[in-house]
């Protein structure tokens, strides 16, 4: 395996039919890092992975491994492993053969191939299905084969495209732990695409948030989670309440349409009078505040409830609470100023 110290993406761009699917992605990945790519469906995550893997030619930009220019090498010469979003299993090979294929390609000895294949299959709990063909497996089982196939070769860089999307919660948790363990014990570098924020936050060293092919924010999980760079990231990161308003005297804003003033924390440059968007997560809205709201919708989510409530002055809020509420109940809501983020409301 080609070990490296640093992987550098420099303005990596990929267009389809003239439209940017990925636009000027620049990123430096240190050896051993666990990077998660996050963003709405269609934002260019898979495109980024494919470019990195060498499966799509770049429209512009370059990729460097230490001082070697990588983007002209064919995929098989880059020494990366990949879990495909659509699995792309070899339909004519049993689970076993799918998994051992990469080892054979890398000239690993027979005995070792057997051992590592068995281990990888055990890792993803498919011992009983080892001789089945992919077409005879359930969706989740197929996905696990894809994972095993990618990690068994212990590549210097693993690219994973939503590798756990078709697994149940328990298994996902288990696999997540295994992936993290492998990452650490083998000293892999991992670029991981997921739509599961919890997964991204818990696994990764750094997050890259994309939107419409453009990087929105790169940062540690905590940074992205607590200080989203803009309203889109906030929106994406679970700040379900996005309240339009106008900035006024520093860290407060006048909510629209009511004109009520609340305090918040500005992110970026917010000037008095600017239109802003205030963002706050459902779970951050206090239920012991001073503003009255009426419960509209209640959804059960396993011991917690997601609630939609409307304040008297017309604000629609998403809340979360452990207490059972019913439609029509009155609650008193409040916004902790440090949790209410104020973003400039750009046109786009």
């Amino acid at each position: 395996m080609t070990r490296f110290e640093r992987l550098r993406l420099d303005g990596v761009t990929r267009q389809f039919a003239g439209v940017d699917a990925l636009s000027e992605l620049s990123l430096e990945i240190q050896r051993g890092e666990f990077i998660a790519l996050l963003g709405p469906s269609g934002c260019g995550k898979s495109t980024a992975l494919n470019c990195l893997a060498g499966l799509l030619p770049l429209t512009a930009g370059s990729i460097w491994r230490d001082d070697v220019r990588l983007d002209t090498l064919p995929p098989e010469r880059r020494g990366f492993g990949m879990v495909f979003q659509n699995y792309a299993l070899f339909p004519h090979m049993s689970v076993q053969k799918n998994v051992s294929f990469g080892l054979q390609m890398h000239g690993v000895t027979r005995a070792e191939t057997r051992r590592r294949t068995t281990d990888a299959i055990r890792l993803v709990h498919l011992e009983e299905h080892a001789t089945k063909l992919p077409g005879q497996l359930s969706g989740g089982q197929q996905q696990r084969v894809a994972i095993a196939r990618a990690v068994v070769i212990e590549p210097s860089l693993v690219l994973m495209d939503e590798p756990l999307s078709n697994l149940d919660a328990k298994l996902r948790l288990e696999m997540r732990t295994e992936i993290r363990r492998l990452h650490q014990s083998l000293g892999l570098t991992t670029v991981y695409v997921t739509h599961d924020q919890e997964e991204a936050l818990s696994l990764s060293d750094r997050l890259v948030v994309l939107r419409d092919g453009r990087v929105q924010q790169i940062g540690t999980p905590e940074e992205v989670h607590t200080r989203p760079a803009n309203r889109h990231v906030a929106d994406f990161m679970g700040y379900r309440n996005l309240l339009p308003g106008r900035a006024s005297s520093g860290a407060s804003l006048l909510l629209e349409p009511s004109g009520v003033r609340v305090k918040g924390t500005p992110v970026g440059s917010v000037n008095d009078g600017d239109p802003v968007v205030a963002a706050i997560r459902p779970e951050d809205i206090r239920l012991d505040g001073d503003r009255e709201a009426t419960v509209d919708v209640v959804e059960y989510q396993g011991r917690e409830f997601t609630v939609e409530a409307r304040t008297d002055d017309g604000l629609m809020l998403h809340l979360r609470t452990g207490t059972r509420l019913s439609v029509g109940d009155k609650v008193r809501v409040g916004f902790p100023p440090d949790r209410l983020l104020l973003f400039p409301a750009e046109a786009s």
Partner: protein, 295 residues
Amino acid sequence: MTATTVAIRHRLAERGVDRQMLLLVPATVFVVALFVYPFAYGIAVSLQPAEGGLLAAYQAFFADAYQRDTIGTTLAIALPAALLNVVASVPIAYRMRGRFRGKRLLTTILVVPITLGTVLTAEGLLNFLGPAGWFNRFLVTTGLTDAPVRLTNNYWGVFFSLVITGFPFAFLLVLSYLSGIDPSLERAAATLGAGWRQRFFRITLPLLAPGLATTFCLTFVLAFSVFPSAILVGDPSGSTRVISIAAYEAAYVRYDYAGASAAAIIMGAVELVVIAIVLGLRGLLYTGSTAGGKG
């Protein structure tokens, strides 16, 4: 490696030009060395008739109705035969998609006629469908007809021989192309309320169409260049005087190589026109993976 060469390589890669094009080299070298060069010579020969100018051989061909009409005669045999072969293969192959007992045997039997060769086919047609063959004996003995039916030494003899040799050819290809289509697509269509007819015409057929176009081209070429059976079971001076007979006679009876090359090149050109139309239409179709999603 300079930045510009890298950039060029990317540009080229995006347009489909990369190292993998080397895979084309052996075939191309081969065809250029062993076909293009001799063929250019063949064209040159057609342009050097014993008498007359450059295009005299072509002019002679088109000026003589007896020669010119061979184009129409050949098309009148080849197009229906090729069409029938392809069209008949599709429902039979379609019926044979799933697994059932005896499928391999049935496939083998359907494909058997490609092993017959033109001679056995011709002999068999003459023996079986001839005036005193089993078929006519059966018709006459059972009183279905008074006199033997003429099925050989005419258009139908050649047509049957093209069906017997061409059908298995088309069937084998269609069956194989069909097996490459993901069966779950038809299932998806079924859950959307599509009956077999709609599943077939809306899902399977469009995905099969590129393969059908290729199959048609190949069976058409096969039928268009029909030669031995046009003579053996046909009416080679009349209704089955196909263009290859014209070429053959020029070359091997009159030893007029310019005329023969001209006829043969006209033959190729007519085929090319038909095939260009079919492949042009194929280009409008969806060609690509027949998989429908993950997995």
